[in-house]
Every structure is written in C-alpha cells, then in structure tokens.
C-alpha cells in the first residue's frame, strides 16, 4: 500500500489514529521511498521550528508585558498613575485610565529604543516603567540650562506635582523623537507617559502626534500633574542637590 501524501502529513503531524499509523509504519518498512517522503515532511517541521523557536528566546518587549499587567486587578501601573485630582475634570477626555492606556500604548517604541541604547532608556520594574541608563542619568544630573543640543537626552521643564513629587519632561533624540514625563518615586524615575513625537512610524491614528516639541499627550499630562509654576534654574539645582526627594 502506498499512503497518500495527506496521510503521510497527518502522520508527521500526529493526527492519525493508531490503526492508520500502523499501516503507514508497515508501508514505510516495506518501501524506503515512503520513509523518504515522510522524512521530507519531518525535515520541514524541524526547519520551521529551528528558525521560529528563536523568537521564544527573545526577551518579550516590556510594553507588551506592561499592557497585560495594566489590566490585572490591583495593577501597580494603575497605582503609579493615581495622582490626586483636586481640580474638577479640567480636561474631561483625559481620564487617568486613558492616560494609563496611552502610557503603555505609547510604549510602542521601547523595542526601537532598546536597540539604540546599550542600556534601554526605559525598563519595566514591578509593573511600572522606570527610567534607566542614559535617561535616568540625565534625569538625575542634568540641569536644563546646562545641556547642549547634541545631548541624546534633552531635559525640558521640571516641576513639583500636586502630590509633591519632582517631575521632569524629557526627549530622546536618537530614538525617533520620543518624549515623555517622568516623576521621581522613592528611588527611581517613574515614566508617567511617553509618546513618539513623529507620525510616520506609528501604527494607529490615535497615537499620531503633531510635530510639536512635546506630543500633546505629554503636555496634557504635565498640565494635569503640575502644582504651580515650573521650577526656575535655582529651584532645579536645589532639587537636584536634594536628590529629587519630595521632602524638601
């Protein structure tokens, strides 16, 4: 008996019942040609696995993990974004939930960012996105008045949030114009929102941002969080000297 090609494929895919499997094995034993045909199917399976299983070894982009975690009950992402909202719904469209969404969705760029920097500028830690590498160094040490246009990380405004935390806006120059807002937590700079400032490479219309220096979603986040006026150069230097701790 010469099994059909479909039967041989089903054999290779483990889809045959025991009786048919035995028939196939008998015809393989009787005819080496059948065994060779089966080997070709199995070789294709192995080739596909050998090339695509590499994906399983790659680190999963943090924004995908953050997106899943953001929907889990008691998510820390949600907690991080709980700024007090003393003023009534100044901008009704900007619910914190939607900011939480844009915070993770705007993170489309992490995979790109992590290719450009030896250390990714933003990493995931316990469900929150935390500045690291060159971005963390710039947020910690750079005074806005002392930076040059060639610095890969540009610091924008610094201010106190209504919660009392120090916050700073930033732009990553060599990663497709990423801009965002980070606020100092206990130890780290927690990235509150980040978005690409260009429209060309984004997947969905709601992520498209006007070509202003800061994307609107970042500006809105600043206006929502800021208490009083941005820090002047003197206050910025004092805050840096205090390690950006909220105490004073």
């Amino acid at each position: 008996m010469n099994p059909s090609d479909e039967t041989l494929m089903a054999y290779a895919d483990g889809e045959l019942d025991a009786a048919t499997r035995k028939q196939v094995e008998a015809s393989m034993a009787a005819d080496p040609q059948v065994a060779r045909r089966l080997a070709a199917h199995q070789a294709l399976r192995s080739q596909l696995h050998a090339s695509f299983d590499k994906v399983l070894e790659e680190p999963v982009p943090p924004h995908l993990i953050a997106l899943v975690r953001s929907a889990a009950k008691g998510s820390e992402v949600g907690q991080v974004l709980q700024f007090p909202r003393k003023q009534a719904q100044r901008r009704a469209w900007l619910q914190w939930s939607s900011l939480a969404a844009s915070f993770v969705l705007g993170a489309l760029l992490w995979q790109l960012a992590s290719r450009m920097y030896p250390t990714a500028p933003i990493t995931e830690s316990k469900g929150a996105l935390v500045a690291s590498g060159a971005l963390a160094r710039a947020l910690n040490s750079r005074l806005a008045s002392q930076q040059t246009a060639s610095d890969p990380v540009q610091i924008g405004v610094s201010f106190r949030s209504r919660q009392g935390a120090y916050c700073r806006t930033f732009q990553l120059r060599d990663t497709a114009a990423t801009a965002g807002l980070a606020c100092h937590g206990d130890d780290d700079w927690i990235v509150q929102v980040a978005a690409r400032a260009d429209a060309s490479a984004t997947a969905h219309s709601q992520y498209r941002q006007a070509a202003s220096s800061l994307p609107p979603v970042v500006l809105e986040a600043v206006q929502e969080a800021i208490a009083g006026e941005p820090l002047d150069a003197g206050a910025e230097a004092q805050a840096r000297a205090a390690g950006w701790r909220a105490g004073h």
Partner: protein, 167 residues
C-alpha cells in the same frame, strides 16, 4: 477595560513568547509582529469578560491574533515590503530585528498565500491539532488539511526538496 484576574494575567504574560512566534510567522518581521501582538492583547482585554480562570486561553488568543492580522496588519506588512520607511533608512540595520537576516525557510513562508501561511503557523509551528486550527480559522478540518498540504508542497519546492517528494 474590565480587570483581568491575576491568574489570567500571569497566564497571558506566559503566553506572550508563543504569541510573538505565531505573529512572526504571519507578519514576517519583528516590528509588525509585535504591533500585531499588541493589537491582539488590546482586543483580548476589551473582551476579557469572555474568559474565566481555567478557560483555554491559548486557542482564544491565537484566534484573536489571527483575526487582528487579517483586519489590520496584513495590508500594512505588505506595503512595508515595498516601501521602506524613511526613518529606518537612516539607521543601521539591526540584526536582531531579523528582517535583514530572514532564514530561507522564513522567506519561503512569507511567499506563501496567507491562507496557507496561517495553517502552517498554527499546526507546524505552534503545534495545534487540525481541529483546533479549523476552529480558529473557522473552516472545516478538510480545508485545513488541504491548505496544509499545498503550503507544505510549496515550501518544499521553494526549499529545493522536491526530489525527495517523488514517489
């Protein structure tokens, strides 16, 4: 967005590597594939009420991802093959993107018709049964087997294994 139970969110995070693998098989390159995974997660979260702990998450997610690919990403991936985005042109190609270094079998898979590529991805790469693949694509099992047969034949022909096929 209805909250996801802790158990389901852990399960979904654990499934991400496989979703990325299936998406890579469909979309061909890392950036479209990860966009696709993101869209699939968003869609899944928006209907998380359909799921309860212990429900078969993998098949459900593969189906959502496959439909997202049909609806949103397929056309874009095709365009990207013709037009390289300007911003990418200015950057050094990154080997880890896999785009520049697609293995012959990956290139061959990208040249298959979509309907063959998705069954190859589900059955040969993800190891689903014919019945599971048929449910996800919403076709009879016979359609899955015939698409698999044609896809395999085309792949083997492209990869130069035709002589082994002659009975």
């Amino acid at each position: 967005m209805p909250p996801l139970s802790e158990a389901l969110s852990v399960e979904l995070v654990e499934l991400l590597p496989r979703l990325r693998r299936f998406a890579r098989a469909l979309a061909g390159n890392m950036s479209d594939a990860d966009d696709l995974v993101q869209i699939a997660i968003e869609r899944a979260l928006s209907r998380a009420e359909q799921l309860h702990d212990g429900a078969p998450l993998a098949g459900w997610m593969f189906g959502i991802l496959r439909n997202a690919w049909i609806d949103e990403v397929r056309g874009r991936a095709r365009r990207n093959r013709v037009f390289v985005p300007e911003e990418l042109g200015a950057q050094v190609p990154d080997p880890s993107s896999g785009q520049a270094l697609l293995l012959p079998v990956q290139q061959a898979l990208q040249r298959l018709p979509d309907e063959q590529r998705e069954v190859i991805g589900l059955v040969l790469i993800e190891g689903l049964s014919y019945r599971e693949a048929a449910q996800i694509i919403d076709v009879p099992i016979g359609t899955v087997t015939s698409r698999l047969a044609r896809g395999r034949e085309a792949l083997q022909a492209m990869l130069g294994d035709v002589e082994q096929e002659r009975a």
